[in-house]
């Protein structure tokens, strides 16, 4: 009987899972394809996290340190799982660095891939330098300066377009990416903090700042930072002769078409299934649901279970997910994976 749990992915969910398993005294093998631990918040250079307001490097730094300091965690960076066989309680995984790992269960914390705005060319990303993504603005905020990439000027006006790569049948993204509304209202406040004279407009179809994000982000952004919310799904972003950008669409509340000049347009990019999901599904023999995320087992008694016994999935591997909930799921799956180390549970599961 193996006393090891294999955790794949070292983002918020994977780090929480690894720490959870390690805390129980079992062995953890943590495999991460990037050269750094911390996942997307670190690799994409996020600024302050929602909802804590802590800098990503500090928050993720603590999670990474906790796992690095644990004696029973073995970490493999720049590594993937290439071969996988066996059954619940006795799996064998072969890593790309040649290592073979014997484990009882697996937690897939393989995350997501940011939507690539190139796939919505009508919104100007790739054509105009001043059309950027929320990820780029996160990086600007982390660097402490908001500026138009084309000429470095401080924008008088910024338009944030919601639902870029989400809720769009045209491009086969029929899901809500869950966190972009909150992130965008937060970014609007951060832009305003760095440049008080900049006006920020959020173009929305609906605002979905669920739970306690409502007043802490949506209301605060509107009431204290005077972010303007415009109900319009932008049809097209073009450039005016003076070099500024023009957002075109229909303002559905005044029932009129709009062509409004902006200095910077920000795409609130959604969460796609990890682009490696087909490979992950093939290697681990787990199913994908219709959107391409990892498919869930019956949830009520098999929390975080996938379609293959002994393999669990957590965080944005399953669906667009917040950092906080990814961490909770990582911890929940750790409990389940540790229980699997016990033969009694394996037989009755």
């Amino acid at each position: 009987m193996q006393k090891t749990v294999l955790v794949v992915g070292a983002g918020p969910a994977g780090l929480a899972a690894a720490a959870g398993v390690a805390g129980s005294g079992a062995q953890v093998v943590l495999v991460e394809k990037a050269a750094k631990l911390g996942g997307t918040p670190i690799l994409s250079g996020y600024a302050k996290l929602v909802p804590s307001g802590e800098w990503a490097r500090d928050a993720m730094g603590r999670m990474v340190k906790r796992v690095e300091d644990a004696k029973n965690v073995t970490i493999h960076k720049e590594t993937k799982v290439t071969k996988f066989s066996g059954e619940a309680g006795n799996f064998t995984a072969t890593l790309s660095n040649g290592t073979t790992v014997q484990c009882a269960s697996v937690i897939l914390a393989t995350g997501f891939t940011h939507f690539d705005s190139i796939n919505k060319p009508e919104w100007g990303f790739g054509s105009y330098e001043d059309v950027v993504t929320t990820t780029q603005v996160e990086q600007m905020v982390a660097a402490g300066k908001i500026a138009c990439p084309s000429d470095g000027r401080v924008p008088e006006r910024v338009a944030i377009l919601l639902c870029v790569g989400s809720r769009d049948r045209q491009i086969g993204r029929e899901w809500c990416s869950k966190i972009c509304c909150t992130v965008s209202t937060n970014l609007a406040m951060e832009i305003k903090e760095l440049s008080p004279t900049t006006d920020v407009f959020i173009y929305y179809m609906d605002i979905r700042t669920f739970g306690l994000y409502e007043d802490r982000f949506y209301w605060k952004s509107q009431e204290e930072f005077k972010t303007k919310f415009v109900k319009a799904r932008i049809a097209e972003v073009t450039r005016s002769p003076d070099g500024r950008l023009l957002v075109k669409g229909e303002d559905t509340l005044v029932k009129r078409p709009i062509v409004i000049p902006m200095d910077m347009v920000v795409h609130a990019v959604g969460m796609d299934p990890n682009e490696d999901n087909p490979e992950i599904a093939r290697v681990f023999g787990v199913g994908l649901e219709k959107h391409g995320f990892i498919d869930r087992a019956e949830h009520y008694t098999n929390t975080c279970g996938t379609t293959r016994r002994g393999i669990y999935a957590v965080g944005a591997a399953l669906a667009p997910e917040t950092i906080d909930d990814s961490i909770s799921q990582g911890t929940a799956a750790a409990l389940r994976a540790v229980a699997d180390l016990d033969a009694v549970v394996q037989k009755s599961a």
């Binding site: 009129r256 062509v259 409004i260």
Partner: protein, 249 residues
Amino acid sequence: MAIHEKSLIDADRLQTSDNLVLDGVDVSGHWNTMVLPRYLTNYDTDFARQIRTFGGGENVHRCWQCGSCTNSCTVYAQNTDFNPRYWIYLTNLGLKDDILKDKDIIWTCVSCNRCTNICPKDVRPEGVMKALAHWLEEEGHTPETKSSIFDNEFLGQVYETGRIEDTRVLVNFLRKTNQSLTPPWLIELGKRMSKHLPVTFLMHMGLHLVFKPRTKSWGRTGEVLREYVREQKEIARKARAMPKEAVHV
């Protein structure tokens, strides 16, 4: 009929030249009608801030367009062109031209405050209607109305004596608005009152018209009030004129 469904187009977007000859072809009248585009080309990003400097408009930026105000509105029930939700949106985006289109109905708010009571974001729409009406007045978009002439007469007497004298308010109002001092309804009112022989009332009225009594120990109160109101208006006017950089948001 050059344009179908012409009635659906705002009159100010239709342009027709009575006499026009193009390349030797007479296209006078409806043959040359052009329709101006209806799209919005810009926002006045400072407008909402200006409206916030008028009393009542302080919370206008909080609105999320649920429509509770319009739905609960007493005036909307009578006139569906009266739409506070819409004007609040126009204010926040600074679409001034569209607000001006409704300048003749915005002031008809009766201040029942049903909107303010129901508003989930505490926008205080009734106050916004007031702020907009004051903005329209200050910018000279609305002429002095009978109603504002009455208000000024009323307030003037309060400043002066700490009270109002009904007869004096009425007579001065009729005078200032160039109306007859003996309108039929007033004569009828007098006739009916005289049936009750209101001797004491008539004596008071006569005395008060001559002696202009003041509220007890009114002193300089009126002057102070007037000065305070003037100061506040001046402060608000300065705040409105201030460049955006100086006020942050």
